[in-house]
């Protein structure tokens, strides 16, 4: 085996923040090289540099021993580097066929020779055992199929080095197996793969070598056969992995929310709910496990009034909901930490203080004369109090929230929602993209709220998080509940199985 890629001292800075710092890495021909790292460790950033999307602040890249300058993705493509991005790079308004041939620089013809290229693609698909309908629009196919389109895109361009950025995040187990097959076939043909993941099982299964990134730096590169999963995890996190430190509650109090045969957009596998019945009691955390895109978003949204169920009813406390409108839910003491904090949770161009009082500006505390006069002083001093209490790291409370880091943005939302003293708290992906400190803080806040008697619905793509926090676990698959499991000593294997629909 000879060296295909060598990265020397690559650094990447965003503003004053180093997402990558002095990274060194080599990839051999016919190797599956895994990049392992926590959220925000800098994995995607490094790969984006490799495909020419980002320009490194510093450092050199060598392909087959020769230094290359990747000024644009075009350079990368022509040098045989292909990437399947963490967030798919597909054009929804185009067909599978069009997406695959998009940007094709090999084709010299002006008019697209559909027959010829279809044949090429079909042949490629057959070789790797993909079954796809070339004429479907991207919006009409499943996430798994979308990913196959992404892989085909890269292969169609003749990638020698294929980068797969968290390819398994949205796949079912069967699909993951299929992916492994493809990966093995590729390395057998002499191609190399950089595989990105933070799931230990996968990493141990497919890798030849593993490089661990932590906080933007490459901590170590190891051969798979020479480490254990435990050691890897320790390197990745920088400390020993402790089991859940939170005590679980066996049974909560009275129901704060109840869904009765709720359906929404029932025919959609990924964006619907199919006949969901469940209860959330006060003083418990109900965790929803499942691969992202199985109705989690919709579940959170019907429970907060953002969308209205097409069938079935929702009750909050004792009363049935008649009007599905976020305000109605808020009035009934529901709080929501939405999945997209910038889009749904915060008004980025307003200050921390303004965002903290977003729902309560007309209360007597923050305005007088029935809302005709804002007590700006009161708002600011309240904000200072919250900044203190929720450890929101900022220069001042009148700083715009847009300029905060993700974790601190999340804390602003959490502060606002917690201070509303809700009966029901719906939380989606609360620690996505956050560092360990912030993650811990937020988890602790949730546990505290539970202990105060709040009923919490936790939706998270991070299985470990669900296991760690939940008192009860429900598995969602294709809009349906696949089973209920205890949070105390959860049957992990059973749950994982349920997540794949079995």
């Amino acid at each position: 085996m000879s060296e295909l890629l060598r990265i020397e001292n690559i650094s990447k800075r965003f503003g004053s923040f180093y997402a990558n710092k002095n990274i060194n890495l080599t990839v051999e021909e016919g190797e599956i090289h895994t990049l392992l790292g926590e959220n925000g460790a800098g994995k995607s950033t490094l790969m984006n540099i490799l495909v020419g999307l980002y320009q490194p602040t510093d450092g050199k890249i060598f392909l087959k021993g020769e230094e290359v300058h990747l000024h644009s993705p075009n350079d990368a493509v022509s040098k045989g580097i292909g990437m399947v991005h963490q967030h798919f790079m597909l054009v929804d308004a185009m067909t599978v066929f069009e997406n695959i041939i998009l940007g094709d620089t090999n084709a010299k013809e002006i008019v697209i020779d559909r027959e010829k290229r279809r044949a090429q693609i079909q042949e490629l698909a057959q070789r790797y055992g993909f079954r796809i309908d070339l004429d479907k629009y991207i919006t009409e196919i499943s996430v798994g199929e979308q990913q196959r389109v992404e892989i085909l895109k890269a292969l169609y361009r003749g990638a020698q080095l294929l980068i797969l950025d968290e390819p398994t995040a949205a796949l079912t187990d069967i699909e993951v197996e299929g992916l492994y097959d493809v990966m093995h076939k590729l390395v057998e043909e002499g191609k190399s793969i950089i595989f990105i993941s933070h799931k230990m099982r996968e990493v141990m299964h497919v890798s030849d070598r593993i490089t661990i990134l932590r906080a933007g730096e490459a901590v170590a590169t190891v051969k798979k056969d020479e480490v254990s999963a435990q050691e890897l995890a320790a390197m990745m996190i920088g400390r020993d992995l402790a089991a859940s430190s939170f005590e679980k509650v066996i049974s909560g109090g009275s129901a704060v929310a109840e869904l009765d045969h709720v359906s929404y957009n029932r025919n959609s596998k990924h964006y619907g709910l199919n006949d969901i019945s469940m209860k959330i009691r006060s003083g418990e955390i109900v965790g929803i496990a499942g691969v992202d895109g199985n109705g989690q978003t919709q579940l959170a949204q019907v429970l907060t009034g953002v969308i209205a169920p097409e069938e079935g009813t929702i009750s909050l406390g004792d009363s049935k909901i008649l009007v599905y409108d976020p305000n109605n839910f808020i009035l009934r003491r529901t709080a929501h930490v939405p999945e997209d904090r910038n889009l749904q949770g915060l008004v980025g161009d307003m200050s921390i203080a303004d965002n903290l009082v977003l729902r309560r500006v007309e209360t007597d505390k923050f305005s007088s004369l029935g809302g005709a006069f804002l007590k700006k002083g009161a708002i600011l001093s309240y904000a200072k109090e919250m900044v203190e209490k929720y450890d929101i790291r900022s220069r001042s409370a009148s700083q715009t929230v847009r300029s905060l880091s993700g974790g601190n943005q999340q804390k602003v939302i959490l502060a606002r929602e917690m201070e509303a003293e809700p009966d029901l708290l719906v939380v989606a992906h609360p620690t996505r993209g956050l560092d360990i400190g912030a993650t811990r803080f937020i988890r602790q806040q949730m546990i505290d709220a539970r202990d105060r008697g709040v009923g919490i619905l936790l939706i998270s793509a991070d299985f470990d998080e669900v296991l760690e926090l939940s008192d009860r676990i429900l598995v969602l698959f294709e809009g349906q509940i696949m089973g209920e499991f205890p949070g105390e000593n959860p049957p992990v294997d059973e749950i994982s199985l349920a997540m794949t629909g079995r």
């Binding site: 999307l53 493509v77 041939i101 620089t105 008019v111 697209i112």
Partner: protein, 307 residues
């Protein structure tokens, strides 16, 4: 019969400048740039087209210079929106104010002192033998100035470009999902600049058409809202060449009908007839419903290293 054919002829006549400008906007929006500065681009194109035609005596020079100045002015827009990521709408507004002011200024510099009417010789119509004698569609399609043929040809080419060619596919991707396009090696920034070049050229030509193929004199404000109607035509035409042609013909038809109704003096204030195209636009857009079919990333700035 002749009433109908004359009406249709007039519809085509009035549709062509709209069509040119609207096609410009189509190219712009397909690359994700919503340019509402068309009115201004056409205004400066119209003046410069007239001026250069007046000086050189050649309508083709006029058309060419109209295109060039349209491009030049639209490069200001391109720099601000593509490179500096300024808001498209806001900057379009700025162009709408800047370009007519420039046009007015240039006009005064060249014609301000004298009081002679400056007229040019319009572009000649070219009759296509035999075909032009076909009733109704003969004069409609085969007895026009080359610019009309060019505009129609452009519609066909545009449709062909966007649906059949690799370059067209790549171009469309920029307006739909610039980030995805970038990952595939498509030069997003260059495509956007190219879009601005095309849009500036076509808008400038649309303006120059008015003073080199349509009216042989120049009057300030001669664009009179065509830029905005063209904008509506793009939405109305569902972002496709053929659809835009149909929309422009419809607007042209409304205009032609309005003139004839006024001449036939129906006794209703003529302003009501003049409202037809605008009311029709509103009704049509309302009936069609909101346009989800527009390019997804239209109007959004594209920053290279943004998450």
């Amino acid at each position: 019969m002749s009433f109908v054919s004359n009406l249709l002829l007039a519809s085509v006549r009035m549709a062509v400048p709209l069509l040119l400008i609207a096609l410009g906007e189509l190219y712009s929006e397909r690359a994700g740039m919503v340019n509402i500065g068309l009115e201004g681009l056409a205004a400066i194109g119209s003046l410069v087209g007239f001026l250069t035609c007046f000086i050189s005596g050649s309508t083709w020079v006029g058309i060419l210079c109209g295109a060039l100045v349209g491009i030049a002015v639209n490069m200001i827009y391109a720099f601000a929106t593509v490179t500096l990521c300024a808001n498209h709408t806001v900057y379009g507004m700025a162009i709408n104010i800047l370009a007519p002011a420039l046009a007015s200024f240039i006009y005064r510099i060249f014609f301000g002192s004298g009081s002679d009417l400056s007229q040019i010789t319009l572009m000649k119509t070219i009759n296509i033998p035999i075909l032009k004698d076909i009733p109704i569609i003969g004069p409609l399609l085969f007895s026009q100035t080359p610019m009309v043929y060019l505009a129609f040809l452009l519609v066909i080419l545009t449709g062909f470009f966007f649906t059949k060619t690799q370059a067209g596919l790549n171009y469309r991707a920029v307006g739909e999902n610039p980030k995805a396009a970038a990952t595939l090696g498509i030069n997003v920034i260059r495509t956007k600049y190219l879009a601005c070049v095309i849009c500036g050229a076509l808008s400038g030509i649309g303006g120059a058409y008015l003073t080199t193929c349509y009216s042989n004199t120049y009057t300030e404000g001669n664009i009179s809202g065509r830029g905005f109607i063209a904008l509506a035509a793009v939405i109305f035409g569902r972002w496709s060449g053929g659809g835009i042609l149909a929309a422009c013909l419809f607007f042209g038809f409304c205009d032609a009908l309005q003139i004839r109704l006024q001449v036939a003096s129906v006794g209703i204030p003529y302003q009501f007839f003049q409202m037809i195209p605008y009311v029709a636009t509103v009704i049509a857009l309302t009936v069609i419903g909101s346009g989800k079919s527009g390019p997804k990333a239209a109007g959004k700035p594209y920053r290279k290293e943004e998450r």
